[in-house]
């Protein structure tokens, strides 16, 4: 008798688990494919290689930022400063390379370290001073926006003295090896960042604590884990990744544009949410986030090809975000 009940329980449990983990990705991925089918039927230009590469190119910056945001959101936090932090890091690269004439690797390192430092400041505000993440990063968002303008004197910094700088995102290493696949480096960087982040989240103690913090911070603290330290680390890593995004965007524009950046954080958060990462923390995947970022780019690109007015593109993106989150809620309820 008990064994029968047990067996039934187990099969119920198994199917529940299966649908939980895989559903998330399947649904997001299916929506991406569906969107692409719709657009390719609607316009023959959509599936042109140039256009597809353009979509990837457009995903690079938002994708990297969304990966950064994913770390924070898995802990149950939020980071509103990713966009302006990206700009700040781009400006720092400009200061090192153009103002001070340092070699390119130093500039790259400086941007990433600046991002990590700013992230650790946010993390400290949140973990040690107990300021809610929304407020702490809202403050950082404005602070960094202002600093970027102050440091650059409100003018763009051009990378004319560093001729190789645009190559960071615009050249194609893959294209040099496989000429039929001219994928720009910016996209390559996105994939590398995504793969490394995914490994970090699933295979390292850092990743384990990231999920654990979002799952039940108090239980983790009572397990004797230094939760404050790991939380600061999460924001630090996230900030470093924002630095990488800063390099990609600066390289693509061949300049650090200090006025840019605000608004990017919302696109990044949208990508994370569409990708199935829970805003209440504890669950999420990098793959989901990348699919989420691609959905946003495909949507923007497809609507533009169909000559839908810019204003309406924003409306549609908004609707998609609401639908994605609602689908997630429906899935959880069953």
């Amino acid at each position: 008798m008990t064994t029968i009940v047990e067996k039934e329980n187990r099969s119920v449990i198994r199917s529940a688990v299966l649908s939980q983990g895989t559903w998330q990705k399947i649904l997001a991925f299916a929506s991406l494919i569906a969107l692409m089918v719709v657009f390719s039927v609607a316009s023959e230009n959509f599936l042109q290689p140039d256009n597809l590469i353009g979509i990837l190119q457009a995903t690079a910056v938002n994708g990297v930022l969304a990966v950064a945001a994913t770390f924070v959101i898995i802990t149950g936090g939020i980071d509103l400063s990713v966009g302006t932090l990206m700009t700040f890091c781009a400006v720092i690269a400009g200061v090192f390379l153009t103002y001070w004439g340092m070699p390119m690797p130093v500039g790259i390192l400086a941007a990433i370290v600046a991002g990590a430092l700013c992230g650790s400041v946010s993390g400290t505000l949140i973990a040690k001073m107990k300021i809610p993440p929304f407020i702490a990063t809202l403050g950082m968002m404005m602070l960094l926006k202002g600093l970027a303008l102050v440091i650059s004197g409100t003018r763009p910094i051009y990378f004319n003295d560093t001729p190789n700088f645009p190559m960071i995102s615009q050249d194609s290493l893959i294209g040099a090896v496989l000429p039929f696949l001219p994928i720009p480096n910016g996209v390559l960087i996105l994939f590398i960042v995504a793969i490394v982040s995914s490994l970090v989240l699933t295979r390292t103690a850092f990743g384990r604590y990231t999920f654990a913090l979002g799952s039940n911070e108090e239980a983790v603290r009572l397990s004797g884990v230094n939760t404050d330290f790991w939380k600061i680390m999460v924001y630090t890593v996230s900030g470093g990744i924002c630095g990488i995004a800063g390099l990609i965007i600066a390289s693509r524009l061949n300049s650090a544009q200090p006025a840019l950046g605000q608004g990017y954080e919302l696109d990044a958060i949208a990508a994370v949410v569409i990708g199935g990462t829970s805003l209440s923390g504890g669950r999420g995947t990098i793959l989901g986030t990348i699919i989420g970022a691609l959905i946003i780019s495909v949507l923007t690109n497809g609507l533009r090809i169909l000559s839908v007015a810019q204003e309406w593109q924003t409306v549609v993106t908004g609707i998609i975000i609401i639908l994605a989150v609602y689908a997630d809620i429906l899935r959880r309820r069953t």
């Binding site: 449990i13 688990v17 295979r203 390292t204 384990r208 654990a212 799952s215 239980a219 884990v225 230094n226």
Partner: protein
């Protein structure tokens, strides 16, 4: 006189538990009827059925002689039944008057605007009826707990309640505030309101109640007039079940080392001058009623809450424990009574939870998780503690309470803790799993681990403990050798409030240890 409320043969089940079995209760107008029983006896469940929070499975409820079906809290309110919960349900940022009339605000200007004046006038007239001096415009968050309770009572009265249910109303009140509450209860009595009073505190019941009904294990035990019944009779009615479980042998621990000693722990009102010793291989039972401060003591020693004062000595060395991290390093583990909130990351899998406190041991290059080693460790504990789970990759929230508890235990065994605090280790666990947990505790003690077991179930305390410490209101009211101790002894210490303790505890302790 027709009773206000008559409940007969009421049944109520929750998944896995029969909470009420043919429960009975009645209440007359102008009466304070106390409802007593151990934790889990079914008092709150019975009253929640009456207040429309739970639906009954079977049985009958009559209000003034008429059978009724109470489908929702709203329906109960319409019948004139109000409940004041142990945890107050007030909106701290609103005023007293706004709280009382929330959802029923008087309107003006064709229903478009709130009539704040009428609101405050109505509230003031209720306060007047209660002979209570309170400004209706006072923000509730700024009031004392006692005053907040008065606001709850006023809200109940605003529904013209005939039946007022109070669930442990004095849990958070000091003596002066209790006196204030009692004078209001007496006035309500004079107005013909029937009051159901749930409490653990004997002296209060003696003072305020007219009759006492005792429940045990979801069943009706009896109803007695308060004035002519002794406290001892009521206690024996509460604990009267026979003890069939076999008692464990109590080992001679006098030559074992003291691994943990605490002296004069102090923390606000929750912990008052608590000192005790714990030996290697010993199970020290911490008895007391809910809110007696036992959990607070455990959490303070574990570094989860800060201490105001006191010394902690681990293996002969005085130590400072500022965080759970310090405690874990000293080999102290704490298994929370609230597994879901404090013990487990329920969204994560079994293996992740088991290795959480000792993840450092499973890293290569101090960074990468050794997935196979983690899985092997998890599997060995799943086998050793007989945790029923389809695999180590199962999310913890899909497992039963007993298995979740075993995972919490596995977690601390994997960390190799020598001193373990078990806070209500069998709460919400069915009987079979309970026995397994008991065996596990005994085995751990035999291996030489020192265990503090906090439990509100007296049979469990008597069965498992080698020594019993009893707490009441933040103080240790006595220590008993388990040999020969009875439920009555413990209950007496657990209900001993400061006002009554003048001579009793010393005599008790001597009597027990002699």
């Amino acid at each position: 006189m027709t009773p206000l409320v008559t409940i007969t043969d009421l049944d109520k089940s929750f998944p896995g538990v029969k909470a009420l079995k043919k429960a009975r209760f009645d209440l007359f107008p102008g009466e304070v009827h106390a409802l007593m029983g151990e934790n889990g006896a079914g008092k709150s469940t019975l009253m929640k059925v009456l207040a429309g929070i739970y639906r009954k499975d079977a049985g009958e409820i009559c209000i003034e002689g008429v059978p009724v079906d109470i489908a929702s809290p709203r329906a109960a309110q319409d019948l004139g039944i109000s409940i004041i919960h142990q945890e107050l349900n007030l909106m701290n940022d609103l005023t007293a008057a706004q709280n009382i009339f929330i959802g029923r605000e008087p309107k003006q200007a064709m229903g478009l605007l709130l009539d704040e004046d009428a609101l405050n006038r109505n509230a003031a007239s209720i306060f007047e009826r209660m002979h209570l001096k309170l400004d209706p415009r006072a923000e509730v968050g700024g009031l004392t707990v006692a005053k907040q309770q008065m606001v709850e009572i006023a809200r109940a009265l605003s529904f013209r309640s005939k039946v007022l249910i109070m669930d442990e109303p004095t849990a958070a009140l000091n003596n002066a505030e209790i006196a204030e509450l009692f004078s209001i209860i007496r006035k309500l009595k004079d107005d013909g309101v029937g009051i159901v009073y749930i409490s653990h505190k004997m002296d209060e019941l003696k003072e305020i109640s007219d009759r006492v009904t005792v429940m045990r294990d979801g069943e009706y035990v009896g109803t007695v007039p308060t004035a002519s019944t002794s406290v001892d009779t009521i206690i024996s009615m509460m604990v009267g079940r026979s003890l069939t479980e076999t008692k464990t042998e109590i080992p001679d621990l006098s030559r074992h080392d003291v691994v943990l000693e605490v002296r004069n722990l102090q923390r606000g009102n929750a912990i008052k001058d608590v000192s005790f010793k714990l030996r290697k291989g010993e199970i020290l039972g911490f008895a007391g009623l809910m809110g007696a401060g036992r959990t607070e003591v455990a959490r303070a020693i574990f570094g989860a809450d800060p201490l105001d004062d006191g010394e902690i000595i681990v293996r002969g060395e005085p130590v400072t424990i500022r965080s759970p991290r310090d405690a874990v390093r000293l080999g102290i583990g704490y298994l929370s009574e609230d597994r879901k909130r404090f013990g487990l990351a329920t969204g994560m899998d079994v293996a992740a939870n088991i290795v959480m406190p000792c993840l450092n041991r499973f890293l290569s290059m101090r960074m990468f998780l050794q997935a196979r080693a983690i899985r092997e460790t998890a599997r060995s504990y799943i086998a050793r503690l007989r945790i029923k789970t389809p695999s180590d990759a199962q999310e913890v929230r899909f497992l039963s309470g007993g298995n979740q508890q075993k995972i919490v235990i596995a977690k601390w065994l994997a960390r190799d803790c020598e001193i373990l605090f078990f806070d209500e280790p069998t709460r919400g666990i069915d009987v079979g799993a309970k026995n397994e947990i008991y065996k596990l505790l005994n085995a751990l003690a035999e291996q030489g681990r020192a265990i503090v077991m906090i439990s509100s179930e007296l049979p469990e305390i008597l069965r498992m403990s080698h020594r019993i410490a009893v707490m009441c209101e933040g103080r240790l009211t006595g220590e008993l050798q388990a040999e020969g101790a009875t439920q009555e002894d413990i209950m007496r210490l657990a209900t001993q409030r400061r006002s009554l303790t003048a001579d009793a505890p010393g005599a008790k302790m001597e009597g027990a240890t002699a």
